[in-house]
């Protein structure tokens, strides 16, 4: 792509039109630069890993995409058309769903209420509970997610089960783009494996996934492409098949610049 930022080399070519495209996104908090001139593309049916050190701008970028933060400059395109993403509601209605690090589930509510939160099937405001149950069962079976019951409070579920509920919610709400914020943080080995499997199933189902992770093993296990942020700028973008863990670490830490000199 020619529109890549200056700091990015063009080694990562991808065919077709991006599903989601960000151009020249900048965000400042006072004098603190959170994002500067960041370009970003997400293609249909891919898992894109977003990596970077703490404070690199990953969270801010995700918040821009999910409508939680409004950028100071820059444009967002969905399907090639300019998109207005100025609130989480906007993002959800455009089919962009974020599964946040703290999961954003309501512990006191049951699985069913959480799966449909914000998008309950309803007529005249009255909730169609039967449709909720049928849809929930269908999606959970499809993803082979096993949850003891749809009517227990989410607060009593395990970390992996909660992650599954959060992902199930994204699917049920008809999302096309699912953003996973540290999906494997604080999970055990077995649960991590299941969540990664789940991520791959999402791609198989034709969805696009943006995955933030600190764990490069997990990134290399599932991602198709890897985008690296550092100091609020995009400093690299690689296909998984064409890069190595060492190269990604160099991009994250910026040591390569010293090497180049």
């Amino acid at each position: 792509m020619q529109s890549l930022g200056t700091a990015v080399d063009g080694r990562c070519q991808t065919e077709g039109r991006p599903l989601l495209e960000l151009r020249g996104i900048s965000k400042y908090y006072g004098h603190v630069r959170a994002l500067e001139e960041v370009d970003f593309e997400l293609y249909p049916g891919e898992i894109l890993a977003l990596v970077g050190d703490n404070g690199a701008g990953k969270s801010t970028l995700i918040k821009v995409i999910s409508g939680a933060v409004i950028p100071d400059w820059g444009e967002i395109f969905l399907d090639g058309r300019p998109a207005r993403v100025r609130s989480p509601q906007d993002a959800v209605s455009l089919g962009i769903m974020t599964v946040y690090q703290h999961l954003a589930l309501i512990d006191t509510r049951d699985v069913l209420a959480n799966l449909f939160l914000g998008r309950e099937p309803s007529r005249w405001g009255m909730i169609d509970r039967r449709k909720m149950q049928e849809d929930a069962k269908r999606v959970l079976d499809e993803l082979k997610i096993s949850i003891p019951s749809l009517v227990v409070p989410v607060g009593i579920l395990s970390g992996g089960q909660r992650q599954a509920v959060a992902i199930g919610r994204a699917l049920l709400q008809g999302s096309r783009i699912i953003i996973l914020d540290e999906p494997t943080a604080a999970l055990g080995v077995e649960e991590t494996r299941r969540v990664l499997e789940l991520t791959e199933k999402l791609r198989t189902g034709g969805l696009s996934v943006i995955m933030i992770s600190h764990n490069l093993h997990h990134v290399f296990a599932v991602a198709d492409r890897i985008t690296v942020l550092r100091g609020g700028r995009r400093v690299g973008m690689r296909r998984r098949s064409e890069t190595t863990g060492e190269e990604v670490v160099r991009l994250i830490t910026g040591v390569e610049l010293i090497d180049a000199n």
């Binding site: 954003a104 512990d107 909730i127």
Partner: protein
């Protein structure tokens, strides 16, 4: 082949648990506890005072419980949404005074309409200050309590507003449909409507959602500000309807009406098992809480216990209920 054996009985069990069982088991326990307490109280009072155990007295209890029920339902909305409404008692007083003047000036129906509208507007003010300007509900509604009570005394000079038409007394006092007091029917109807609203409508789901985790609700696209504002409109409106019934029962406008009733409503809500920090609880439980307090008050009156004893009894029950609520909360967080 011992392996497949345990699998088969487990599967249908999971299927069964996925049926629409409405409430988690823990909460049912609290509601059952209150229900059992009511039965025990009824048995004890019936034993101590034969006059307690007759149909007329039971109907009387439902009529006496009508206004506390309306106030407690409003309080329940506020508390499930993670807030508080201390102003509902004072709204009752101010509405009573204003609606009495309005009935005298504009007639019965317009007067009542003005009164209910006033309650809704005060609730809207509370809700706007809390939801839009993010002021703490405790402070806002405490201020509103003082404001409303003060205005009620100022416009009436602290005196009751008398000479209301006799038909006005019909609504909350002398009115009966068959054997049932009209006030009971009004309160029950409103209960059914609000119960459906809370358990079957998006709005109700969002009331629970913002009480359970406001930021999670916001991220999911819930219009937190709107829902929170509406919650206080509901509690204000219910306080005004309670005021119509109470004013009707005394057939006058009373600026001191509902003094202290806001705390009684909190008591009923806590006894009813609403989670102290919001997000959980049922209107059914709250109604049981109201009934428990109504039975207690009626029974203690009939066995000639002073109202001081009633205060002590209510205090002890609230403490016991909140201990139960906290223990359940801890258990659930484990």
């Amino acid at each position: 082949m011992p392996e497949p054996l345990p699998v088969q009985p487990i599967k249908p069990q999971i299927e069964r648990r996925q049926l629409p069982v409405r409430f988690p088991r823990l909460r049912l326990t609290q509601e059952r506890g209150v229900a059992v307490s009511i039965v025990v109280l009824v048995v004890i009072f019936s034993y101590l005072q034969p006059r307690f155990a007759n149909l007329n007295n039971f109907l009387n209890i439902t009529r006496q419980g009508a206004e506390p029920a309306l106030l407690a339902m409003g309080q329940a909305f506020a508390m499930i949404a993670g807030g508080f409404d201390l102003s509902i008692g004072a709204i009752t007083g101010l509405t009573s005074a204003v609606l009495a003047y309005a009935v005298l000036g504009f007639g019965l129906v317009p007067g009542i309409a003005i009164g209910i509208l006033l309650g809704a507007l005060i609730g809207l003010t509370n809700g706007t200050l809390i939801a839009r300007y993010r002021l703490p509900p405790f402070i806002v509604t405490l201020g509103m309590l003082s404001l409303c009570r003060g205005i009620a005394y100022i416009i009436t000079g602290g005196l009751p507003v008398l000479n209301l038409p006799r038909e006005f007394a019909y609504i909350g006092g002398t009115g009966y449909v068959g054997p049932l007091p009209l006030a009971t029917i009004i309160a029950t109807t409103i209960f059914v409507v609000l119960y459906v609203l809370l358990t079957r409508f998006k709005f109700g789901y969002y009331v629970y959602a913002i009480g359970g985790d406001e930021s999670a609700a916001r991220l999911a696209g819930v219009n937190v500000r709107q829902v929170r504002t509406l919650v206080y409109v509901i509690s204000g409106t219910l306080a005004a309807i309670a005021s119509v019934l109470l004013s009707s029962r005394v057939n006058s406008g009373q600026p001191s009406l509902g003094d202290g009733s806001e705390l009684l409503s909190v008591a009923a809500v806590i006894i009813g098992g609403v989670r102290l920090r919001g997000g959980q609880g049922s209107l059914g439980g709250v109604m049981l809480g109201v009934i428990l307090l109504a039975v207690l008050s009626n029974g203690l009156n009939l066995i000639n216990m002073s109202s001081y004893v009633q205060l002590v009894a209510i205090g002890l029950i609230v403490m016991a209920a909140s201990v139960g609520s906290v223990i359940r909360g801890r258990r659930q967080e484990d």
